[in-house]
Symmetry: D2
Subunit: 386 residues, 4 copies
Amino acid sequence: MAITAAHTARAPRIRLGMVGGGRGAFIGAVHRIASRIDDQYELVAGAFSSDPDRSAASAADLGVSRSYGSFAEMAQKEARRKDGIEAVAIVTPNHMHAPVALEFLKRGIHVICDKPLTATLPEAKKLAKAAEASGVVFALTHNYTGYPMIRQAKAMVQAGDLGEIRLVQVEYAQDWLAHEVDNKQADWRTDPARSGAGGSTGDIGTHAFNLANFVSGLTLTELAADLQSFVPGRRVDDNAHVLLRYNSGARGMLWCSQVAAGQENGLRLRIYGTKAGIEWEQENPNYLWVTPIGAPRYRLTRGGAGSGEAAARVTRIPPGHPEGYLEGFANIYAEAGRAIIARRDGSALDAAVSFPGLKEGLEGVAFVDACVRSSAKNGAWTKLAL
Amino acid sequence: MAITAAHTARAPRIRLGMVGGGRGAFIGAVHRIASRIDDQYELVAGAFSSDPDRSAASAADLGVSRSYGSFAEMAQKEARRKDGIEAVAIVTPNHMHAPVALEFLKRGIHVICDKPLTATLPEAKKLAKAAEASGVVFALTHNYTGYPMIRQAKAMVQAGDLGEIRLVQVEYAQDWLAHEVDNKQADWRTDPARSGAGGSTGDIGTHAFNLANFVSGLTLTELAADLQSFVPGRRVDDNAHVLLRYNSGARGMLWCSQVAAGQENGLRLRIYGTKAGIEWEQENPNYLWVTPIGAPRYRLTRGGAGSGEAAARVTRIPPGHPEGYLEGFANIYAEAGRAIIARRDGSALDAAVSFPGLKEGLEGVAFVDACVRSSAKNGAWTKLAL
Amino acid sequence: MAITAAHTARAPRIRLGMVGGGRGAFIGAVHRIASRIDDQYELVAGAFSSDPDRSAASAADLGVSRSYGSFAEMAQKEARRKDGIEAVAIVTPNHMHAPVALEFLKRGIHVICDKPLTATLPEAKKLAKAAEASGVVFALTHNYTGYPMIRQAKAMVQAGDLGEIRLVQVEYAQDWLAHEVDNKQADWRTDPARSGAGGSTGDIGTHAFNLANFVSGLTLTELAADLQSFVPGRRVDDNAHVLLRYNSGARGMLWCSQVAAGQENGLRLRIYGTKAGIEWEQENPNYLWVTPIGAPRYRLTRGGAGSGEAAARVTRIPPGHPEGYLEGFANIYAEAGRAIIARRDGSALDAAVSFPGLKEGLEGVAFVDACVRSSAKNGAWTKLAL
Amino acid sequence: MAITAAHTARAPRIRLGMVGGGRGAFIGAVHRIASRIDDQYELVAGAFSSDPDRSAASAADLGVSRSYGSFAEMAQKEARRKDGIEAVAIVTPNHMHAPVALEFLKRGIHVICDKPLTATLPEAKKLAKAAEASGVVFALTHNYTGYPMIRQAKAMVQAGDLGEIRLVQVEYAQDWLAHEVDNKQADWRTDPARSGAGGSTGDIGTHAFNLANFVSGLTLTELAADLQSFVPGRRVDDNAHVLLRYNSGARGMLWCSQVAAGQENGLRLRIYGTKAGIEWEQENPNYLWVTPIGAPRYRLTRGGAGSGEAAARVTRIPPGHPEGYLEGFANIYAEAGRAIIARRDGSALDAAVSFPGLKEGLEGVAFVDACVRSSAKNGAWTKLAL
């Protein structure tokens, strides 16, 4: 029941900037709330829009004093200030992740980047190389890995509670693109120039893929994908059926869809091993079901009996008091923050700290790339081009 | 709330024989209960075992007066009696379905046969041809299509409530073969000589496939299958991942498994169209979830508000009083019984009567055959050899 | 997974008569199906209506050869036949239970009577006395105690798995009388002359009360009731709130309602002890939730891992294959049938056999009586007048 | 999908102080997170403990610059500063609510006070009078009324969607005091001198009572309570069964328990009217079930189709992205913040703004008082002494 997050606030707050996330944006606001929940960050600068006036208006809305008309200007000027930002949150459409990130990391500014890493695989490789060379902390907000019960699931897999993993069933179903949609969120996500070659695969398939990797600890060897664009005129996939083969011999299926009628944000993971399985659904994330062979199915709750340290260290409130999406997202910020502060202080980072970064980002973009290539070859088994 | 089933009992009960289903059998007992629930049948003869003594012992257990040591003897002798059986229930392992059925149908005795139709596709084609020529009623107990809410789902699809179907997600997960098992039920199901080339695909995959076809009304064009035998030494598949392409352009995924830890009888169907989706789970079969685009998800209950005639005609008790597996199974018997009585009386059969038969049986065996062939070609898209 | 019920059929079927249950009746049809499921009974005679023509018409519908125009005639004539009925099922409105039962039991014919035992407490006491004196088997169809997971729950309480019981929360919510209703089912249930002084308390409150007693093993000491008739002009209660005090010091609440909007047949039992709790819902009766203190909540399934012998002996099919209301009801028939056959054979009755009878019937009527008296005294604590 | 909360941040942040909530406290940390989520408050001062050293240590933990050794000192000194606190959060044990609040409100400092309002009814009346006289904003953190779907439920009741309300079923079940517990949280809650005469009734019963009032809009006329202390030696109730009679003729039941085995934070509200019912559970707060008479049950989701403006104005993220306890709590802070800023600016307060305050506080303490008095008179119907 401990509320431990506040303790880390004793270090001075991390000075944060943001690129993107102006008026009408969704994910920018999520990043800002996530950065506040544990009082670890302070948002002090932003290039909230590529239009300087709109950027300034958003800054005023948010009570942020330093507003910039371009990310390049922001990178240059902040890097020169003594009290300049220590980290930047990148919440632009996909095709802008790489250019923006490169501008900041080359100046030693840590990066917290929305997923997927980039719109294309060559870009991703280039960015990963540059980021590694720079030595900055690079966090990618595959936020679902921040949920405590996902941490619990991973810990159980690692402890061998499931036995040897045989099967991974993961899906992410939405319906918001079931028909022609015309708004800011939809427009760039269905434009290959901005989203990349993958539509649903890039936007949500990468989350599903990442989540399965995170919990299972497995590495995907090859996949066979059948991609569809159900909505006439759509230029990217809005539904994908993918068969999975992992290095260990485990097999799986991944389904992602933005046209599954009546689905809101149906991310669901099921993993079955030789001893037991686990089942988790994002829409009710405080529960983890465990399904042993030969014993009754049971429900672990966030912080409740049987839930261990891996979950406890990223939870804030007692069992029965549900945490949600924002807290899970905040956990990515908190974990990245621990790394940033360790870097600032020159202190050792707690080995338990975990957040997605360049490796996961590269894998995600390679996953989309492989899906698109496999589907173009009528579902031929295709290896990730890592 | 009407209890209408009893009305059909006014016709004299159908004289039923059984082949297989002796002591220790599972599905034979299910067939017997199913045949009794609506008081339409009377079990009067049986070749419950190929061992005459065991057959007689089972007959005594069951209070059945006419016991035979072989199905051939039973077919011959019953055909000669004035009060001989009108129908035979075949509840043997798969490889015996065809030889037994042929013996009865050539004598004009109606057949109620457990699924799959046969162990091999050539056998299935031969049997289907002979059965059609004979003119007997041939029912195949794909019992899950007997559930009222499955009838409701089909009626909703037909009425256009879902719009144009885009996606079919169907799965059937069990864990009873997760490890080496040694019992009567497991032995023949993992022996290709008795079960056919498919393991989980034949035993439960055919159910899933049939259920999706029944509700969606779609025809499968081709499939791509990745079959596994996770348990060392197993000679048939115990898990299968299958991608589906339907004639209409709809796509789908089918997963069947007998090694999914902690799963009992997890048959689950989800279908999504341009307007709405439906979701159904066999383990709680009295509910059908409807998931419209742009309106709240709602729950239809068997006999409850919003549930229509297609469900009502195969239900016995008011909403909130759950019906289960045996009642669903009994609905196949009741529907086949209506056809048998119509044949006996020379009367017209109510157009609403529906039960799986030769067409569904052929498709099921062709499905298994295509899965095995596709998997052997590393998941190449493969057409059903119908 | 054993299908054992059929074995008892080796004894000749019990010859059964029925009083009530003619065309349009609900519960009569349920009794008939329940009597058939395990092939233990044969319905051979009936006074299905007090109108001889209607009785004969129902008999013809049902294929029952011996039809009577009155229960008295039936009792007399059947008692004289060598092949006369051995047991009678009474499925009339409440006020007729006692007169009918007395007529049969005084002739040594076993009685299977719908609940509640009678419409009034004096009648109940008289009937109980007469029935005990007669020595017949007397079963009362508090059918919910026939559900396997209710047997499992009782066994767990008896084994001490819950520790000392502290709390009983039981409810039974429907909405079918939420407004003025005019049909055969509603008419007699809202007429005190036929239903007795209790409305919802008699019709469903007695089920809830009985279920709680059965599982908990506790005896109610006193209750405080607040009864309402929400529908204008209704002459009996359609909703009741009842506080419970048990002999052991345990406390509880009982809610029954026929005006709870949107509820179908919401019978739900929760019992909490010093070590663990159990939770069960009739609308999905194959699951029993166990809620230990200090360990995760788990789900027992009918026949699944962790479910014991008490449930197994009243189940027919494997876990994951849902059983429902009719199978639960059939278990009361099966248990009573075991007692009837033991009586017929002079054999000892298996100690595990359990079905509700006179004691439970008396308690139920006393419960209704105490509710009505307490409510009339503005909810004063009131003892059962047993 | 709008993220609107941030817009209110354009006003300068509200300077907040805190009394209580030092190291090891639970609810203080919750208040702090809640105050941060929408960026409306800045915590600048605290009397986190009555021990000055402990207070200072907590302030250092939290990065709060102004630390005080007593609430009285803090009230005096802050009131004198130009940049002194505008509002104080009181998160002490119950008996300290009144003395602390009085000290601040008499200096015109707004109060955000944890529930229940006070430990005794006379105190509550005195505090309410003084607070009203002072004119400050007084918010009481009955946080569950901050959940969006609770706002939705209230709006539906007000719109008449349920018809006339007949029934209220509310419960709040936990098990953390099922046995003797010895920790800071448990100690004061089971000490009548600090918690007041009610145990579970005060700690959680008041939440349940408040929630039912908030959604139903009804006023309780009288109650009949049966209170228990199941754990030997416990000086306050740990379980309560309460019958409810509302002014409109509606009736209800309230159950609160801290000894219900296996329950974490089981607050559950069900309200049934002449047209429909609603059902909500705190542990999965993003769903509201609506149960009409004569139509299928449906599920409203936070922000999803059919969910209206009342919910939308207190939600931050799209449907399918779960919000939890902290966001609900933050909504109370956000609503109170709107009132505080309106007061600061002299602007009109949006009529939609709603948060619990003195009226709800008084009712809650009167509820506990009536429960204790009724139970002492063996459950006699007792009016609230308002």
